[in-house]
């Protein structure tokens, strides 16, 4: 109130004081109009230029980052596709090697079968019956012109002989056919064997064909990557997002397992490192020790999978010679087994500690001990021990999703960063546009506060213009009169 009063020229007459103050302010603002307009222009120009500059810089950075991300993404994709193709080729190579090894034997077998079939075929060729020689004899008898009993007798003898020969020939023919049928029957297994072999070959060829198609697909992808195709880049980016989501989910599940693991060993660890030792205000040494054990298990699992070449987080392990890698694998597996055994025994100790504490509580409460069923009460203990042994191995596999997270997170963060930079750049550019238009608005707003002096100014200028026009008009009239 005192401050407000100090601004009044005549504190007893507030309205008049305020009016005077307003008039003075208006006069001051009118006098400072041009410099103020200049200040507004300069400040807005400065802000507009700065924001535009920052926006441009952000867009440039985003583009650079995008290019870098693209190169990293394509390099990763290329490496991944090359690995997949390599493995496919290896698989096909193995298949071909294996099948080609079998091919000479198969070919020999097929040749043998074919030769056998050919022989059999030859054997079963039809043997025509001997030509009937008696036909010519019959013709000779028929040409004998003299009748009598001789030709008849002769014909009867011939008939008898023919009948005999015919019976013999028919029997022979039938036997021959029977034999051929037997040969043909014996050919059946050979045909089946050949059919089976051909079927197997067809199946293998089909598998090869499928693999070849897969390789074609991967090669297409690789070509797309090499050509820096936008479609391939988009597919790889989406794949990175999907991979991150899946891996994160698996990691969360693994973390749940690790938490159970931690709960299993935290209490018994206090028996080793002491229950009353603290590392920080709220962090017990036993809890940290349990956590360290779990992290060591995870590390051993990581090294195991690295040495098995399932994951490739450490290039040095991947580039080791096979003997060293094998040694590392054995060492990490041994450590993992030892840690699992320790954890199992800790789980047993946990059960014992809990039982001991429960017994003490019963003693303190003077309660009767519960009736124990040996088998039933030992089930949780056995379960804990088994879990304690199995969980470290299950935890070892966390290296696979971890690797995926590591690789895909880079892409995802890169994409998010680019989008964020572009978003900020857009906002800044919009702000620059606003700052460009703002001076006009501010000038008008400024002029509103000094509207009365401006009106007077306009009126005065108008008056002057009129008088100037009048004087100019009078002079012109005098000139014209003088001329007339």
């Amino acid at each position: 109130m005192t401050t407000w009063n100090s601004w009044l020229f005549w504190p007893n007459n507030v309205a008049f004081s305020v009016l005077t103050l307003a008039v003075l302010a208006m006069l001051f603002l009118y006098a400072a109009r041009k410099p103020m307009h200049g200040v507004i222009h300069s400040v807005c120009e400065l802000l507009s230029q700065s924001t535009r500059f920052i926006a441009r810089w952000l867009f440039l950075c985003a583009d650079n980052l995008r290019l870098r991300n693209q190169s990293v993404l394509l390099a990763q994709g290329q490496e991944s596709a090359a690995t997949v193709i390599d493995r496919e080729f290896e698989r096909v190579g193995n298949m071909i090697r294996k099948d080609m090894q079998e091919f000479p034997a198969l070919q020999r077998k097929m040749m043998e079968e074919t030769t056998r079939i050919e022989d059999d075929y030859r054997k079963c060729g039809e043997v025509p019956p001997p030509p009937p020689e008696w036909v010519s004899a019959l013709e000779s008898v028929a040409q004998i012109k003299s009748g009598g009993d001789i030709p008849r007798k002769l014909l009867e003898d011939i008939n008898k002989s023919i009948q005999k020969i015919h019976d013999k020939t028919v029997a022979e023919f039938r036997r021959s056919y029977e034999e051929r049928h037997k040969i043909l029957k014996a050919m059946q297994p050979s045909w089946r064997s050949v059919e089976k072999m051909i079927g197997e070959m067809e199946k293998k060829m089909l598998t090869l064909q499928t693999n070849a198609k897969q390789i074609d697909g991967h090669m297409g992808k690789l070509e797309g990557i090499r050509a820096k195709d936008n479609k391939t880049e988009h597919a790889l980016t989406v794949s990175a997002f999907v991979q991150l989501a899946i891996s994160s989910l698996v990691m969360v599940i693994a973390m749940g397992g690790a938490f159970i693991n931690y709960k299993l060993i935290a209490l018994p660890m206090s028996e080793m490192v002491g229950a009353s030792d603290y590392i920080t205000n709220n962090l017990k040494a036993s809890d940290v020790a349990a956590l360290v054990i779990i992290l060591m298990e995870a590390s051993m699992g990581l090294f195991l999978l690295e040495s098995l070449r399932i994951t490739q987080l450490f290039p040095r392990i991947a580039s080791m010679d096979d003997r060293m890698r094998h040694r590392l694998m054995v060492a990490s597996l041994t450590f993992l087994i030892i840690l699992a055994a320790i954890e199992s025994s800790l789980a047993l100790m946990r059960d014992m500690l809990i039982a001991d504490k429960a017994s003490l509580m019963r003693d303190l409460a003077a309660a009767a001990p519960p009736v124990s069923d040996g088998l039933l009460t030992s089930i949780p203990m056995i379960g804990q021990m088994v879990m304690g042994f199995v969980l470290p191995f299950a935890l070892a596999f966390v290296a696979i999703p971890l690797e995926n997270v590591v690789y895909s997170l880079r892409t995802v963060i890169g994409v998010v960063l680019v989008q964020t930079m572009r978003g900020i750049g857009f906002v800044l550019r919009f702000a620059a546009l606003l700052f460009k238009r703002l001076p006009k608005v501010l000038e008008l707003a400024y002029d509103v506060t000094i509207v009365i002096p401006l009106m007077i100014e306009r009126w005065v200028i108008g008056m002057r213009a009129d008088s100037t026009a009048d004087s100019t008009g009078g002079k012109e009239l005098a000139k014209s009169v003088r001329a007339a």
Binding site: L267, S270, E271, G274, A275, S276, D277, Y278, I279, T280, N281, A285, M352, L353, D356, K357, L360, M361, D363, L364, A365
Partner: protein, 220 residues
């Protein structure tokens, strides 16, 4: 790069080492004074329950002592049992069992004292707790808080209970308190003023032993 890594490892290691040194800060020390004067020795069953509660609640690394309030209580002879629990939970459980046994033996052969020297017990308790270097120190007084000093016992001097919580348990009303409740209220107020003046951090009265035992120990 390796230089920075070494520095980082060293600094983290130093933080861990410096933090590991003060494990006693987190421990709890409890000194329980049990009134055995003529009017109060009938309450020993309740005292046993409180001791059992303390045994069940205290953790490895904590300290517990139980002492009786006698005619003159400023002496170690009045400490019935005292223990600092081992850091290992299994050993701590065994110690708790042994402690319980010694308390049971004491309750069987209890003899009522002629006078009640609570102040002497408080001084003795403070001495014990300061020796334990526990982070949280509590003196539990299981008594009606009616101090009666024998002839020649001098307790009218300032005592030091700095950083110690005082918990008065089962403060029973005496016959005269029923006639004039102001006596009871004045007695409690006097004790509160006295311990706070001595530097006690907290003064708590717990009479509902069935539902309010958690107030004895401060949660960590």
């Amino acid at each position: 790069m390796s230089k920075y890594l070494t520095l980082l490892i060293l600094s983290v290691g130093m933080v861990f080492v410096s933090a590991c040194g003060d494990s006693r800060i987190h421990s709890h020390g409890v000194y329980m004074l049990v009134d055995t004067s003529g009017t109060y020795d009938q309450e020993m069953n309740k005292a046993s329950k409180i001791i059992n509660y303390l045994l069940a609640t205290l953790n490895p690394g904590d300290s517990l002592a139980v002492a009786k309030v006698e005619t003159r209580s400023f002496t170690e002879k009045d400490i019935i049992a005292k223990v600092t629990f081992d850091k290992r939970p299994s050993q701590a459980t065994s110690q708790k069992r042994a402690f319980k046994t010694s308390i049971e033996a004491f309750t069987k052969g209890i003899k009522g004292s002629a006078y009640t020297d609570i102040t002497g017990g408080l001084i003795q308790g403070a001495e014990y707790l300061n020796e334990t270097k526990a982070g949280i120190k509590t003196i539990v007084v299981f008594s009606d808080m009616q101090e009666e000093l024998g002839k020649g016992t001098i307790r009218n001097f300032p005592i030091k209970l700095n950083g110690i919580r005082i918990v008065a348990l089962n403060v029973t009303k005496l016959g005269a308190d029923n006639a004039d409740p102001r006596r009871y209220l004045d007695r409690l107020a006097r004790w509160e003023a006295s311990v706070r003046k001595a530097g006690a951090t907290e003064w708590v009265v717990v009479n509902d032993l069935d539902n309010n035992l958690e107030s004895i120990l401060i949660t960590r």
